[in-house]
Each structure stands twice: as structure tokens, then as C-alpha cells.
Amino acid sequence: MVGVLRDVRPDERGLVVRAFAVLAALLFSHTVLETGRDAAFLTRASAERLPVVYIATALVALGWARRAAVVGTLAGLRNGALGAAAVVVGLAILLGAGLDVAVYALYVASGILTATLLVHLFSLLGSVLSITQAKRLFPVIGLGSISGALAGSAAAAELSRWLAPAGLLGVASGGFAAAGLLAGWLPTQGVAEHRPGQAGWLEPVRNLLETPYPRRVCAIVLASAAASTVADYLFKSVVADHVAPEQLGQFFGRAYLLLNGLSLLSQAGLVALILKRFDLIVGLSTLPALMLLSTTAAWIAGGVAAALLLKAPEGILKHSLHRTTMELLYVPLDARTRGRIKSWLDLLGQRLGQAGASAAILVTASVSEVWVWGLLLVLVAVWIGSCLNLRVHYLDLFRRRLRRGWGAFSRPRLTLEGLETMFTGLDSPDPHTVLAALRLLEEEDRPQVVPGLILYHPSSEVVVAALDLFARTERPRSPALIAHCFDHPAVEVREAAVGAWSRLNRDPLPDRVFRDEAPSVRVAAALAAGNPVDLAGMDRNLQSAVARTAGRTGRAPGLLARLSSDPDPLVRRAAVEAAHDAPSVELLDPLIRRLPEKRLRPSVLRALGRIEHAQAGLQRALEDDALPRLVRCEIPEALARVAERPEEASQVLLSSFVAATDGMVRYRMLLALERLCAEFEDLEPDPKQLDQAIHAVVSRAYRYLDRALCLEKGARDRPELRTEGHGLISDTLTAKRVNAVERLVRLLVLRYPRAGLDAVKRALRTGDKEDRAAAIELLEGALSGSLKLAVGALVDGRSDGDALRQSGRFHEPLGLDYPGLLQHMLEGGSVTMEDLVAFHLAELDWTSFLPQLEAMAARRPDGEELSRAITHLRARAHA
């Protein structure tokens, strides 16, 4: 009970108390009303007239369902409850006046009023609460239902000794009025507007039939109502066979008291427990699964005990777990659909299920009671099947919500029409379009369709790009076409033509190229002819020309490697861009070292992509701790870009992820894995490795959370500890936890690729309340056991203290005081935390930490912050 109440967060208490009170008042009134109704009916009419009122109720419900379709508004609930009070008072007056027809009207009204008001109440709550809130709060609010019903039974039993049926109706009317007044306190924020008359008669039915989710909810409603009816029939018939008629009243009284008591306990503890540890579908399937077992056992055993066994699951769970999980099924629907479907199913579906079951009982019982038992087993099996079948559609509701506007992306294959488009692009007067078409054709591996006449294009940029494309792809072209470019007015075209000529023709370069007026063309020609070039005397432009020609001709990779490390950024850029045209394993290491340079990176990646064995080289580099940190940060993405053996790359990335101590490098590995999986749709990283990585990240997130809690508690107890350093540590721990959770979600997306989690990370970060709830529901739908609890607690916005309690096998709570925590963080192995703690210790003048800081400084002599803290603390110690 306490556990259930602990799930209610401070800002939700008001809503829960009010909803509980309204629900309790409604059920109290309904129970008293039923008692008064039954007493009045049996005294004024007779039991033989009951079928008449059943039919009348069903017909009125049919008409009422349409009116009640406009539900889920506060005004509807309030006015409905006050209206119910007035109707019941009116009927009490008519009864008091001796008008017999009033008992029929009373019977029908009692069947409609409370059901409609409950639809109103839960639709309203569904509009206000997200699904994650509803899962926490409905078990508590649902206690109002059972408490109200118990209180109503007790009150009716006592009052009926003093009051006539009309008097009981007066009490019920007062209860409805109280519910109406209490409803006025319910929140209206977030409640969707409904406009009556927006839909036709058949829209809810169409919704039921056309969309898979409501259709399956309908199946559950029908199956559960029918199974309950048959189970009730069997229970009563077995009891009637074994219990003396004069003891029946006492037997049923005791049995119902016991079951209702257990139901209350179930609502107070079991419901929340099941919803927390398992998903909604498990909660929904629990009752029919238990009924399947109890029916089988009762059928075999026979007798009164068996009858009780048969009735127990339904008696205990129907108004607790089943009712709560059924209400939760409507929450993910949009307000309009929810209102319409819920009113139809709650008012009509139940009765249709009961009517169908009654007819089936009549038929089967006329053959043999064994057939009725068989009928129950079939109905329960259908019920279970409907529940299990709902899972996919239930999760799809959240996937659809998070995927509004986009879906999975895969690049379409090149079609003939696409090829024509690109070919047409080559004719464009706009050089940008022609350059784009050239690049696309190369990417699509169709460079052969680029006509040689493009070398006559008026844009020199286009001509250079075409010459480079011809050289790179080594597609022979007419020497005359290239030779024409030697006379081009643009130097860069003449220079590019030298490279293309030497790559595509065996003939020597024409003499005039060696006498070109531009030094860069002459240098290019010399290099292309195999003559040695002396870089020492060259300026940056000539060196760049050398780099470009080395690339175009595919000669002198050593020269390119050297120029790619040149101190001049212009030369480096030319060399790296040229490396794309002359891929060589010699360039591998120099290119990897250029990865941190953002302006060069696209060219580096393109060049690496053309080098044979680049994957092996990058994998080796990934494990090389001697490389600068910024280079190691870039390697994972490069590996993902060039990987030809994605499984191997994913294995290396994952094993490095678990071993890496640098958070930034780890994150880049994760991004690289994502890229790999996006690029290779069939790739599924090793689940064991992913589980290991997930475990490590969950543990890390809880470690940061626990540290932050210890830190905060220490500062709360001793406010003088709340210094600037304290703030820096606290903010860092918070940031680290946030980042760990974000990375955890990324890992889960990779681990459960078919769970549709890819939209979850964005929804958790930037989504509204409903998006976040949908994301959490999807996450929890994919997970189970302790991982589900631990991940759920990290993302569902509960308090840090509550979250830590769910850490389970992932983290042992630290339970440290402030000095103990600082000591723990100093030993944690994170340089950032070590330095921040050293700063904080110096602020606090805590000289007792001096020996430990000195020992750390001996291991890390370059730690400026450590040194400064030690100097300060030594001075304090001497003082």
C-alpha cells in the first residue's frame, strides 16, 4: 500500500486525491442505488420481469452510447453526476408516490448512469495523464472504486434496516451529487475539447472495425465479459449443487466478503507491482491466464472448494487488475477516439458479451454441463489470445506517435529516369548543377556516361572536375579532347589536363606543356614526366600544384604523404584532396592524423574510402593509445565510413567501447556503430557485446546519480560545503548522468533493432509529455526484468532517490558521507573528477586529503590543478 502511494509524485497528489474521491463517491452511490433498486424491484415487480428490464437496458444503452460518445469533459462529468442525482431523486419521489413504472425506469437508469459517469471520468483522466503517469496512478485511483463499493455495501446493509428503498435512493442521490461537486475540483488543463455532433452514428463502429488496435480491445472486452458471465454461472450452479438452499445467502455473503477484501489488497499492492515489473499486456493477460488454470483445476476437482477456486481469480482481479489495465488500454488513444470507443465498449460491449454468453450457456447447458465448462475454457483461451495479439498494436500506437513525419530511410536505387535526370543535369548552363550531376554519376558508378565533350563547357570549374573524374576512373578518352585543354585560358584547367593526360595516355606530354607560361603547369608536367621535383624552393601555390599532380597522375604517393603533413594549411588541403585520386596504403597513417582538421575531414574520409586495407589500418589505429586524443576521437567514424567488413568493424568498435576510458572516444564509437548499422541494414551487432556495453552504461549512470545524491545530502547537512567547487562537481555529475542515459538509449536502439526505438532518443530529449511517455512505453516494451526497472527509473522523471532504489544489479548504493564521497571520486580514475575534487578540497582547506593528493600528483605530474591544491593545502597545514 505504502509502495503504491510512493509512486504518486508531489505534483500529482491533488489530482489523485480528487479522482479517488470522485470514483469512491460514484461507486458508493452505485452500490447503494443497486441495493435500493433490487429491493424496490422485487417488492413492486417480480423476478420474472427481469429479462424485460435487461432488454430495455440494452436498448436504452444503444441509444445512450451515441449521446455518451461526447465524453471526457469536466463539464460532462460534473453535470452528468448532478443530473444522475436529480434523476435518482425524481425516481425516489415517484416510487414513494407508488408509481410502479418507476421501478422499471430505475432499473434501466442504474444500468446506464454509473457506467456513463465512469466513462466520463476515465476519459477525462486519460486526457490529463500520460500513459506512464496512468500506469503509476490508476492503481491508486482504482482503490477508490473498491473502497467506494465496500463502503456502499456496508452502508446499504446498515441503512436498509432503517430506510425504505426510496430512502436508499435518496442516499445514492446524495452520493452522486457529492461526486458531481468533487468533480468540479478535477484539473481541466490538458483536456482536449470535444464538439458534439462532429461524428456520425457509425463512426465509433467504423473505428472499431477499421483500425486494428480498437478492434482488438473490442475483442478483449467481448471475450472477458462473456467469460465472466459463464464463470459466474458455473460458480453459482456448482455452489447450488453443493450448498443447502438456506445456507446460500451466508455462503455467498462470506465468499464475496473474502473476495472483495482480497480484491482491495490486490488493488493496493499487486496491480502496481505487475505494472512496474512487467508490461501492460502481461497485466492484461494475468486474469485470463489464472482463469484458465483455475477452470481446469475446478473442472477436474469438483465441489465447493473447486467452485471457490473457479471464482477466485475473477472475484479478486476483475475489479482491480483487470479494470485498471483495461482503463490503461484507452489512454494512448487520442481523446476523441478514446471517448467514442470507450463509451461504446463500456456501455454496449459488456452487455453484448454477457448476452452472447447467456445465449451460449442456454445452448450448451441444454446438452451437458461439461459443454459449459468447455465453453468457458474456449472463451478464456480467446481472451488470452486477444491480449497477446494486442502487444504489437499497442506498441505501434507509440511508434506512430513518435514517427510523425518520417519513417525509415533507405536510399533508392538508381532508376533509368534518375539516370536521365543526371544526364540532363550535365547540359545545364548552371555550373553547380553540372558539378552536382558529375558527382552523382560518380557516386552511382556511372562515370562512363559523362561525354568527353563536357571538356568544352564554359566553366573552368566544370572542366577541371570532368578531367579529374576521367583520370580518377581511368576511362580512356580521346587524346585530342584532353589536348584541347592544354590551350585553355585557365591555368587550373591546363594543370588538370596534364594529370589526366599522363593517367589516360601512354604518349608523352606535348612539348608546349613544358613551356607553359604558368609555373604550376610546368611543375605538373615535370612531375608527370617522372622528373624529380625540389619542394624546397617552391611557394605554397607550387607545392599545392605538385600535390594535385601527384594525385592526378597516381605517382609519388610518398610525396603526397609528406605534403599532407605540411605546416601550410593550403598545401595540406591540396595534398589531402589529391589523395582521393591516388589511393595508396602509404597515405593511410598521414591521412588518419589529418582527421581532426574539420575542413579536411570530408576529403580525408573520401580518400580513406578508396585505400585498400583502410579498414584494417583504422582498426589498428583505434587500439593505439599513443595517438593524440583528438585523432582517436575521429577514428571510429572513419572506420564506419570505409568499412567493407561491417561485422568485423562493429565487433572492434564494441570491444573498444567497453574498454575505452575516455568518454568522448566512447561516444564517437557509439555514433560510428549507429552509422554502420544505418549503412548496412542487415548488420546486427553482437548482442552479447551490446549487453555488456549496456550493463556498463547503466552502471555508470547510477554511479553518477548516487554520487550526486551523496553530494547533495552532504551539502544539505552542512551548508558551508556548498561552494563553487561543489557546484562544479554537482553539475558535472548531472551532465555525465544525462549523457550516459542518452548513450544508453542509443545502445538500446542498436540492441533491439526491431522494437522501433529509433525515435525514442529525440522524444526523450525534446518531446512533450505525451512524446516522452510514448518513448518510455516503447523502451519498457522492449526490455524486461531488472534492466527494464533500471532503465525506466532513469528516464521516467521520478525523483533521484526513487530512481536509485531501482538500480538493482547494476549498482550497489554507495552510502557515503561527504568526505567519503570525495575520497571515492578521487579514486574513480577520471581525471576531470580528480581535478574538480582537488579544487573543491582546496576551497574547503581539507588538509587531511594532502597525502592522497600527493600520491596522485606523483602518478600525474602534469596535473596543474592537483599541484595547485597541494600547494594551497600545504600552506594551510603549516599555518
Binding site: 513525419g405 558539378l435 552523382l440 551532465a735 576531470t832 581535478d835
Partner: protein
């Protein structure tokens, strides 16, 4: 149907110079989400005050934007429409009205938001274009808020450890409120430097390889057309760094002091792994652009 003309849309996107730095996956994502459309003079792409659901890439033609009945801008092809308001989180937006036969690609805002967060080259490209635009409207000078010291400069220890640098980075500016790990990463990669009177930080035409966060001191930034003085707390040279264009002005120290120096590649590396900071920068630059437009 959309997939049928994917290559055509790729070609269109590749032809727009302002998208030239977006990588292949980013462009392919946009091409898949985009819808080709044509519009005639008088067509309204969006009304002011309505929620932004789409942005447009103008391939041919021209569109004017109007706020509160006043002309804000005339966008000529090739250009981008509707994304600035979204980046600036400006819910009101502008009315966009076609004034010449136009060809456009319409992109759902959700798709651009997704790209902003998941594709660094796209977000970087937006930052680059916004920075260029801001530099342009500022006459290629830093923000025109001539420095005047109103309180004594903050005194930082000398030498500064990285924790001191972290404290100063978080003292104000975009890193004051962002994820602490981003601030830590930046602080660890900065260097505290002295600013000596008369020292020239850069000349016009120099590459934009570094930026400075001025701790105290004053710097005069001058072009042939004018000058601006900046001081304590100012982030100098960042706009050109993001715009990736050579320096447009000479920066000379006129009052000695200290500054944090950060390399462009390192700063961009921090933004790459902390997209939240990048989005904050984009929002800030977009808001500045909108304010300039007003």
C-alpha cells in the same frame, strides 16, 4: 512516387551552393523527405502566426517575406525559406508570398529538426550560413556594441588551470547554461594567453583558425569602413570561424589583458559531440539575424 524522382531532388539539392557542405547521407535524407512543388505569383507559402510545418528550398523564382504588413526580405533562388524562424524558435514567423514563378523543394520541419540533431554536417552548414549572414549584416565586424567597462574586470588566477578556464567559460555566454561536459571539453582544450598592448591578433585575410574569449582587456577591430572595440567577456573571431571565411578585419589589442584561446577544429569537435550546444548557437545566431531583419 517520391522515390521515383529521388535523383532529381538530389541533383537539385547538390546544385544549391548553400548546401554544398552537407554530406551525402544528410542530402539524401533531405531529398527523400522533400516534395517538389511549383508556385505562381500571389501564392502564399505560409501565413504569419501559423505554426511552422515546412521549410522551402527555392530553386527558381523569388519569394518575399512580410511581417506585420512590412516587407522583411526578398529571397531569390537559390535560397532557403522558413528555416530561420524555426532555428530561432520564433513562433510568429513571417508571411511568405511568391512574387515570381517559382520552383521549390518543400521539406517538413520535423525532417530538418531531425537532421539538425543527428547530422553534424547539416547543422554545421546551417551554422556556417547563419554566421556568414550575420557577418554580412554587421559589415564584417564583430557585434557593434562598443565596449565600455562598467565594473572591475574579473580576476582569474595566474597561471590558469583548466578548472579556472572552466569557471571563466561558464561565467557567461552560450556555455553558461549548457551541458557541463561540453563546457569541460571546451575548457580542457583552451589556453589562457596574455594580450599585450599593440599586439595584432590577426590581419584581414588571415585564416579563421582561432577564436578568443576575452577575460579582460580591449581589442580594436577595424576594416577600412569602420571599427569596433570589444572587451571583457567578448567572444572574438568566432563568427568567422563558424563562417569559415578569412578574417575581414584587423584585430589589435589596445588595452592589455588576458584571454582564452581556442582552436577552430577543437571548438567544432566539441560542438560535434554536444549537439545541444550547437543547436543553442544556431538558435542564438538565428535570433540575432531575425532581430537584424526587424
Amino acid at each position: 512516387m517520391l522515390e521515383d524522382r529521388f535523383q532529381e531532388r538530389m541533383l537539385m539539392l547538390r546544385s544549391v551552393p548553400s548546401f554544398s557542405a552537407v554530406d551525402d547521407p544528410g542530402l539524401a535524407y533531405l531529398a527523400q523527405r522533400a516534395r517538389q512543388m511549383e508556385a505562381s505569383p500571389g501564392d502564399v507559402l505560409r501565413e504569419q502566426g501559423q505554426p511552422s510545418t515546412h521549410g522551402w528550398i527555392l530553386l527558381k523564382g523569388s519569394v518575399r517575406t512580410i511581417r506585420d504588413g512590412q516587407l522583411v526580405n526578398v529571397v531569390e533562388a537559390p535560397g532557403v525559406l522558413g528555416l530561420l524562424s524555426v532555428a530561432a524558435r520564433d513562433e510568429g514567423g513571417v508571411r511568405a508570398e511568391v512574387i515570381a514563378e517559382s520552383q521549390l523543394l518543400e521539406v517538413p520541419i520535423e525532417a530538418t529538426n531531425e537532421l539538425m540533431e543527428s547530422n553534424f554536417s547539416f547543422a554545421r552548414n546551417v551554422l556556417r550560413n547563419l554566421s556568414r549572414h550575420l557577418l554580412d549584416v554587421r559589415g564584417n565586424l564583430p557585434a557593434r556594441t562598443d565596449f565600455e567597462r562598467t565594473r572591475p574586470p574579473a580576476r582569474w588566477p595566474d597561471p590558469m588551470t583548466w578548472v579556472d578556464r572552466l569557471r571563466s567559460v561558464r561565467a557567461h555566454g552560450v556555455f553558461a547554461d549548457v551541458n557541463m561536459e561540453a563546457a569541460v571539453d571546451l575548457a580542457r582544450s583552451t589556453h589562457a594567453v596574455r594580450l599585450e598592448t599593440g599586439q595584432i591578433l590577426w590581419e584581414a585575410g588571415d585564416p579563421p583558425d582561432v577564436g578568443f574569449r576575452v577575460l579582460h582587456g580591449q581589442i580594436n577591430c577595424a576594416t577600412e569602413g569602420g571599427s569596433v572595440r570589444v572587451g571583457d567577456g567578448f567572444a572574438l573571431g568566432v563568427l568567422e570561424m563558424f563562417a569559415d571565411i578569412p578574417r575581414q578585419y584587423r584585430a589589435q589589442v589596445v588595452e592589455e589583458g588576458r584571454a582564452l584561446r581556442f582552436d577552430a577544429d577543437v571548438f567544432l569537435g566539441v560542438l560535434e559531440i554536444h549537439p545541444g550546444v550547437l543547436l543553442e548557437l544556431v538558435a542564438g545566431f538565428a535570433q540575432s539575424s531575425l532581430e537584424r531583419g526587424r
